[in-house]
């Protein structure tokens, strides 16, 4: 009897997986228990849930390939229509050639269910062998699709058809009225991460040395990021910097206080680099500039009046029009002005709600108030507004009235502040509640 020996072929398989994916033993065991033996009945549907880069997809797919179950993977982000979603599944299950020669179409779940039903009626091997549908990022499916796939084995009347949905979203967000079992892939703990990163150590350095480095690295990075993929990326970059003094022969591996010396050398870099996590680039490298400061730099190159216009736009967006008279009218009572500012200080939350729309007239009025020199209202000024919009420092808001266009500023505070400093204009004096 072949069954008697299935554990013998299961064992090397398990070892292979646990070796390739360290610290995932429990999850591998559970999945093997569920899917390793094709003769056994499967769950009708299953959710595999875990945060990003916890090994959900790679472990599941490798395991299904190793136990040789017929399965089909669809990434639901790509499958934005029914046809894109269902066609690959049908092609895997019925064979691609057959689908082409018989010109099988599958545009709706109805056709899909009919095709599978007909196939299991006519084809004995199809009926008796297990089939698995794997849906990645299943949160992108519509509600009806999700419900249908959750009970796909019931709908197609094929007991050994299972739908596995992989998701990063908490399963309780889905509104199934059909109970689904969930398997959880927990986030790696610090020990797990140490173990995994340790397994990929560079061979040319002594083990003790690399372990020290990893502890230091994780001590800084774990605070910001626990995503394994991201950590794997950074651990290499930082290590190259870490061993720089050794590579340059400034320090030797045999130095007695090597650790503290290296730490002293790397510390400022580490502090800086933790601010670049997830951003994709190392900003300490020459040439790479942070996007926000880039914006500020380009704004500084603007012509004089445009700078004033930008500041005027910012003030118009963030100050309520009812304080305009106190703020900009020459000769208004200073004491009154200060009181007004004090009074509104508590309303600073308003700043967070984003810019408000303002009319062209208000913008020009504030512009004349803050601009010391007398400027003629010429077409030049108007064209400056257009260029500000083109630079995406200002935007046109939808207003129904064609005669009275409304605007909003999109420039961040830091950028406008820089511009203000550049023309010796103290923005904070005019901004209420900052």
């Amino acid at each position: 009897m072949a069954d008697g020996s299935f554990y013998f072929h299961l064992h090397p398989l398990k070892e292979k997986l646990t070796k390739k994916y360290p610290r995932r033993d429990n999850e591998i065991n559970t999945l093997l228990g569920l899917f390793a033996v094709p003769e056994e009945q499967m769950l009708p549907s299953l959710i595999v849930y875990g945060l990003s880069s916890t090994g959900k997809t790679s472990i599941l797919l490798e395991l299904l390939t190793l136990v040789k179950v017929k399965h089909c993977v669809v990434n639901c982000i790509e499958a934005y229509t029914n046809r894109l979603l269902l066609k690959p599944i049908i092609e895997t299950f019925l064979g691609q050639e057959r689908c082409e020669t018989e010109n099988i179409r599958c545009d709706s779940i109805m056709q899909f269910v009919h095709l599978l039903k007909a196939e299991s009626k006519s084809n004995k091997t199809f009926r008796e062998s297990p089939h698995i549908i794997v849906l990645k990022n299943c949160n992108k499916l519509s509600e009806i699709q999700l419900q249908a796939f959750a009970r796909i084995s019931e709908l197609t009347e094929k007991d050994n058809l299972c739908c596995i949905m992989i998701t990063q979203i908490v399963p309780s967000q889905f509104n199934f009225n059909y109970p689904i079992q969930t398997i959880v892939f927990p986030q790696y703990s610090k020990d797990d991460l140490l173990c995994i990163l340790w397994s990929q150590r560079p061979p040319e350095y002594p083990e003790e040395f690399y372990r020290d480095y990893l502890n230091l690295f994780l001590g800084y990075f774990l605070h910001v990021c626990r995503d394994l993929k991201e950590l794997k990326n950074w651990v290499k970059i930082v290590f190259n910097k870490y061993v720089e003094p050794i590579e340059k022969k400034e320090l030797k591996l045999s130095d007695s206080n090597l650790r503290s010396l290296l730490f002293r050398a790397i510390k400022p870099y580490l502090q800086k680099i933790t601010n670049c996590v997830y951003l994709g680039t190392d900003f300490s490298i020459k040439g790479a500039v942070e996007p926000e400061s880039k914006l500020g730099n380009s704004a500084i190159d603007l012509p004089m009046y445009t700078k004033y216009l930008l500041i005027a736009a910012y003030l118009a967006s963030f100050n309520s029009p009812k304080y305009d008279k106190r703020l900009y009218l020459k000769g208004s009572d200073k004491a009154k002005k200060r009181a007004a500012i004090k009074h509104t200080a508590e309303k600073s939350v308003k700043q967070c709600l984003g810019p408000k729309a303002f009319s062209l007239n208000r913008l020009l009025a504030i512009f004349y108030a803050i601009c010391d020199e007398p400027v003629n209202l010429t077409v030049n000024i108007y064209s400056q507004i257009a260029s500000l919009i083109e630079l995406r420092l200002m935007m046109h808001t939808n207003s129904d009235n064609l005669d009275e266009p409304k605007f909003k500023t999109t420039a961040p505070f830091s950028c406008v502040e820089d511009v203000g400093k550049n023309i010796k204009f103290d923005l904070k004096n005019y901004l209420l509640g900052v």
């Binding site: 554990y7 109805m110 079992q181 605070h223 502090q271 926000e292 984003g354």
Partner: protein
């Protein structure tokens, strides 16, 4: 463990697993609800025997055996009477045209009718029904329509299908029986007036069994087996399955007698009466039976697997975040608590975070760009959801979000978070 015994286990465990798993997956017979059963049988019999058209709705929470009830009754009647059966499912037949296609296919009607009758959808369906009348071979052959997930048909355009079917059940010469199956109790509220007035308002209610003892019986049924259930080829073995089976049942008895096991079973029954949930969990339990770790069923195993089903995944997700992301979550929690569940945007959360890091000297403040990324991650995990999704008017920084996590969940996650700084813990528990 002595040698001859492990020999038993090697052979028996795979067989046992297969046997128990198929026992769990194969649904049992319909039990109870005899009143509803007679009601439904009478209703359909009146249609198929005496040609009195009728309609009915079967309502019951998920897992209360609605589909099973319908299929049992129909199976019984199909032997006795001659009628067409059209099964529609709201999940599959997502619009009226698909449903019409299905009807045409099952009734073996000529597909050309659909193309010929270029008129309205209702016209098409009536045309089909009329051809059936005129067709001599099917004179007065009754049609039974089963509409599963009935509530989904209500959202079809103008409810044309429902209207046509209900209208047919009132007027056509062909006897028609329309049976809707739904887990939505207020479904009649969703019906249009013209549909509602044609519906007979026959409603059959089903309730899930409220008896824990039957659940316990089911549990016993799932974990025990008779020797003849397991198809052991005795000639192949030098030893009979009796020894292993004896030991297995001894362990099972121990498990059933364990009050802690009864407690978890009761707890699941109290939370979710759906039998499918229980079946799923039991399948997980049986999957854990293997040669290395669990040769037999044990109380610990059952308690562990059942307890896993009660896990709060949101707390789980929060515990998997980085400290920085957790800080943002705490800031959002404070923000929502203070402003009575008002939505917030990135700027407000950032302000709170800044305030906290300025006060707390141990923590290094992260840059705005990194925080924005962390914020984005929380959006992707749907821990926070945008108030208005498709608004180009609002800038990214100022878009408003709602917090999908409760204060209790945040506190729970903070309590169990590995190596969390005491300062952050204090911040999370403080009231501001």
């Amino acid at each position: 463990m002595d040698e001859p015994f492990s020999g038993h286990a090697t052979v028996m465990v795979p067989l046992l697993r297969r046997c128990l798993k198929s026992k769990i997956r194969n649904s049992s017979e319909l039990e109870g609800c005899s009143a509803q059963r007679t009601q439904l049988t009478n209703l359909i019999t009146r249609v198929v025997q005496f040609g009195e058209s009728d309609s009915a709705l079967i309502c019951g929470p998920p897992g209360s055996g609605k589909t099973k009830l319908v299929s049992t009754v129909l199976k019984e009647l199909q032997g006795k009477h001659d009628f067409f059966l059209v099964k529609l499912n709201g999940l599959i037949h997502t619009d009226d045209n698909l449903a019409l296609k299905e009807i045409v296919q099952t009734l073996n009607a000529d597909e050309s009718i659909v193309e010929e009758a270029s008129g309205s959808f209702a016209g098409n369906l009536t045309a089909i029904l009329e051809t059936l009348i005129n067709d001599s071979s099917t004179v007065d052959r009754p049609i039974v329509f089963i509409l599963e997930e009935f509530q989904l048909f209500c959202s079809h355009r103008k409810q044309t299908l429902l209207y046509t079917l209900m209208d047919a059940s009132q007027s056509t010469k062909v006897p028609v029986c329309v049976i809707g199956v739904t887990s939505c109790f207020e479904v009649t509220q969703l019906l249009e007036k013209r549909v509602k007035s044609r519906f007979s308002h026959n409603q059959i209610f089903l309730y899930p069994p409220n008896d824990f003892n039957s659940r316990l019986e089911l549990f016993k049924h799932f974990v025990t087996f008779k020797d003849e259930d397991v198809d052991v080829d005795v000639d192949d073995l030098s030893i009979s399955p009796g020894v292993y089976s004896f030991l297995w049942h001894e362990e099972v008895q121990k498990v059933i007698d364990n009050p802690k096991v009864i407690e978890v079973l009761k707890r699941q029954f109290g939370v979710d009466k759906n039998e499918q949930t229980f079946r799923n969990t039991m399948l997980m339990v049986i999957s854990e039976i293997d040669l290395e770790r669990n040769q037999f069923l044990s109380a610990d195993l059952i308690i562990r697997i059942f307890n896993d089903t009660f896990r709060d995944f949101t707390v789980f997700a929060l515990r998997g975040l980085s400290v920085l992301e957790l800080c943002l979550v705490i800031a959002m929690n404070h923000q929502t608590n203070q402003y009575d569940d008002e939505p917030f945007n990135f700027g407000m959360v950032y302000r709170r975070y800044q305030k906290f890091t300025n006060e707390c000297s141990v923590l290094v403040q992260s840059s705005r760009a990194v925080l924005l990324k962390a914020f984005q991650k929380l959006i992707n995990l749907e821990l926070i959801s945008p108030v208005n999704i498709h608004s180009k008017e609002v800038l990214k920084d100022f878009n408003l979000y709602r917090f999908n996590v409760t204060n209790e969940q945040v506190q729970e996650a903070v309590k169990n978070f590995p190596d969390l700084m005491p300062a952050i813990k204090e911040w999370a528990t403080s009231v501001c």
